[in-house]
Amino acid sequence: MDGLTQAETRELEQRMAKRQVKEFLNVFSNLVDHCFTSCIDDFTSKSLSNRESGCVTRCVQKQMALSQRLSERFQEQNAAIAQQQQGGLR
């Protein structure tokens, strides 16, 4: 951002890339946990039933739509707050 040299900008980009990987893995883990907990309830067999399998597929799709939507709201609000005030608790 402001006042960084080229080398610093490159360094920052690398860190950001790592952070994005971490964040993605987090989102992925939460998705697995949430869809597993929500969809899996039958332990009479060790393989996924059609019902469970379908539920997981829909869960992932719906969660992605949800993340997408909340992410848009998040960015809007964030931009609005950044404009409105500087400082304070972020």
Binding site: M1, G3, L4, T5, A7, E8, E11, L12, R15, M16, R19, E23, N26, V27, N30, H34, C35, T37, S38, C39, C55, T57, R58, C59, Q61, K62, Q63, A65, L66, S67, R69, L70, S71, R73, F74, Q77, N78, I81, G88, L89, R90
Partner: protein
Amino acid sequence: MSPQPSSAEKIAAVEAEMRLLGEMASRLTKACQQKCVPSDYREAELNKGESVCLDRCAAKFFDVHMKVSEQLQQESQSRGGGGGFGFGG
């Protein structure tokens, strides 16, 4: 020596900012998913009601975030510094 933040400090600050935003986004997602979307997943799409609920939920989450932040600042001012949280150090 110089009053300028070093490169390392500037980068650390941007990184910390990103991390905070990422964590907040993930907490927002968790909170609003719980409030607005039933966990039976009979449909793969968000329906109209869920979508509207998520938008309002996000707005309220931000409001609560601001409100709590202001309240803590007032408390910490009226107590003069340190604050009422004994934990953490």
